[in-house]
Symmetry: D2
Subunit: 276 residues, 4 copies
């Protein structure tokens, strides 16, 4: 293979396009990359993300320059958070010469959990996602957290002489915040979403439970039956009292233990008592 | 186990709820079920679907009755098409006593493909989806078809003395139609979407190719290089000349053969030259 | 594109290879295809399979002819069962000129299930797999069926004052039969495996349960707690009394409702009281 | 919930079992956990693993104690490598009171890759797996690495006037080593497997390629066509000259760019020129 200097190679992507069709999003996806996320307690957690990065492309350009996405990502490898997302987006917007940039970052986040009676500690993973968008006129950030829970069926408990079917469920909260009193974007920690969701279901799930803990969790779930509808409402009920969120989408999905399909409920809540 | 007649078992779901939070969608998902789909040529194709069915729930009801979704599905097992979807939705809306009903049906659809030179025939599968929604004020239907294609990179071809990287790509078209001249909903066949997409990429992919066909397809792809941006534009260019679609979302994704990530492009097109 | 007759195109695959390394399996996989499977009741069920077909390749041949796999599959599209599998394998062996041929066919299989009290009927899917191998000296066939079940934890029930955690589990049975008294290969129906597994867990799962049924299933599960170890042993205990199986692998996996991980158990059983 | 001291809660798992059926493997799976892996260059890489841990259970015990798996994992969180795997296995064997213990750890591993002409650097991920087993009589360790590559079809190149279909492929190498001259277990680094596989395919794939690099890789692939059979043979050819491996399984899978299915080849090689 004879190599050639960059300057002599045609830039096909920069050619004009006559079809008069703008591209809303063009970029790379399914890119795995190590990132660092801030913890509520002040620590920095190393994790591994699945990343998508894209920009808009005007109707008169043939293509975007895909390698620049990777170059921008390399420059910001150190940390990806609600604070640094605007910098990454601005960098993409500039280097790709675009009106709009978008970044999606999905990653497992670990929290140390303490068993309710034995106090045994272990790590549990929560699937999280940051989605940021920046254009000349808008700046958006959505945090998504999926929390596994135990959900015990209120109907099954009520109509049965003993027992009640229960199962693992997954509650996904997508939240967009407004600005705090000083005008800076408000933020909600992953840890806060986990706490709200766990209080909204029949019981939390844990990585490590000794027998005394299993007894506790079994009885806690039996005392707190909840339909998927209940879980969605419980989560919204807490967050609508919190001044930070302006918009929420909450989805609860149960891997039904008596069926081979899933039950789900979903609601979107938007703050209407103040200007967004 | 002592069984009890239905009439004496409490209907927990029908209790009042005071949290004042409506549920947008509640129902079942990940349900596998055999269905029948109409073919363009007049045939009826048996296939197997992944189904989600849901309804809205007013703020003052505690829960929906999940078993009724399955009962409605059983009644309509015979066929699921753009023509019967309104009946299924109306049935759900009535039996679940809901303001809004939604059905999503995803399934593989088989078409017989003929190799370009040898004329050898075999079956190829395309992943399809029907999404229907019915409320007191609206009636919506979206057809989605994902078509695998071969895409050959224009940049790689231009800058290299020989060869060009190419790869399998997937083009997903989501299309919503308007009404035809008689006021009935217009429709587009799955077969039509497949044809438009295959002409928009570097070459089709086939289930069965003999050596003469492989030669043909290899050279056809080399003669028709296309970025993901090109494929999206080519598809929109064809469909915007067709009077039936009112709305399109086209997404092209390439499993890049020189990278370990994917390249993608996406655009939404909405008809603006007539009232929707 | 100028096409060329097959006879003039070089057959690269048939060239000699000097590396002296035989290939154990070479072929195609992830091929989706409609098939027909026999039901115990005498019916023929149309379903959709994920197929892999492969052959061995002697050390001195460069490659196999991939298109021939699809041609053989097309000829046998009508039905894929324990009875026809030997014909498909023999056809592959001959047309690919191989010492050994192997076929794997995975598919969802539907059975009508009747709710235990209301007698309401609906269809449920079970994931199944046929694996067949044919060589000059051996002829093998393994049936695999995965059955979703409800499993209720014996420990949780015993140590708690009320309730018991339960969850959806999946029990996978792989079975290889010997010959029946007349020397023909014995066979076990998918329906038989489903029945044995459902009796081995805490309760079956159903597609459609009315309130009276939900009460029944809830209490049935509470009365029949079972660890994953118990489920594996229960299944083996039944099948080792059956004269047909010569070899079994049983795997039970629980989607634990109090954890974010799974519990599993697995055992292989081989008949030792008669020559295989 | 009233909690109770551990000592008063029945240990159901320790009860006798009379079915006379030993359990080969019982444990936990699908557990996500942060681990540290050693790099060839001496560094320590933090990554996130999917873990399964299991033990054998004698025929006369009812169940194993699942929480102990998590406790053992917590104690060894610091690092999981070929050197520490025996300690984890011995710990499991002792605390679960088992004859045999098994650990499977799957994780993405990142390596910095340098583009062939521009020398631009970026990180690429490789899916890896450690499987260790320890019993009273045996001690086993298998390293598995999956390497994405570009594979260009020799047949397509030979029979076409220009171009050649190529695609992303995945080569999976499973390797078990013997002992080195001093009697200690030999080992192979992940980095070594990646290098051997990349030389065995048409070209490597990279996270970041500038135009000069894309030209280089395109032409490199065109100059090095390889069937899946060739890739498998090339890998075995290198490793059989290496004194360390005693056993190899090599699988090459191509996401064919002209088909909607995959092509694959697989061979097992066992050293026969010295006692294992």
């Amino acid at each position: 293979v004879t190599s050639t200097s960059t300057t002599t190679l045609t830039d096909v992507q920069s050619r004009r396009d006559d079809r008069n069709i703008p591209i809303d999003l063009v970029g790379v996806s399914d890119l795995r990359y190590p990132i660092v996320v801030w913890e509520r307690g002040g620590g920095r957690q190393e994790t591994i993300a699945q990343i998508a990065m894209s920009v808009s492309l005007p109707h008169d350009f043939k293509g975007t320059h895909m390698s620049r996405f990777i170059e921008v990502l390399n420059r910001h490898r150190g940390e990806v958070t609600i604070r640094t997302m605007p910098l990454i987006l601005a960098d993409l917007k500039q280097h790709l010469d675009a009106e709009r940039a978008r970044v999606e970052v999905a990653f497992p986040y670990f929290m140390e959990r303490t068993a309710p009676v034995s106090q045994a500690r272990s790590l549990m993973d929560y699937e999280c996602r940051f989605v940021g968008e920046l254009s000349d006129t808008a700046n958006d950030f959505i945090l998504t957290v999926t929390v596994p829970v135990n959900s015990l069926c209120p109907c099954s408990k009520e109509i049965s002489d003993y027992g009640a079917h229960n199962q693992r469920g997954y509650v996904t909260v997508e939240v967009r915040c407004g600005q705090d009193e000083g005008g800076a974007p408000a933020m909600i920690w992953i840890e806060e979403v986990v706490e709200v969701v766990e209080q909204s279901a029949s019981s939390p799930v844990y990585p490590l439970l000794k027998r005394v803990d299993e007894r506790h969790v079994t009885m806690q779930a039996y005392e707190n039956p909840a339909f998927v509808e209940d879980i969605v409402r419980n989560v919204i009920q807490v967050f609508r009292e919190d001044p930070r969120p302006n918009w929420l989408k909450v989805t609860a999905v149960n891997d039904e233990s008596i069926h081979n399909h899933r039950a789900f409920a979903q609601s979107v809540w938007t703050r209407t008592d103040r200007p967004s």
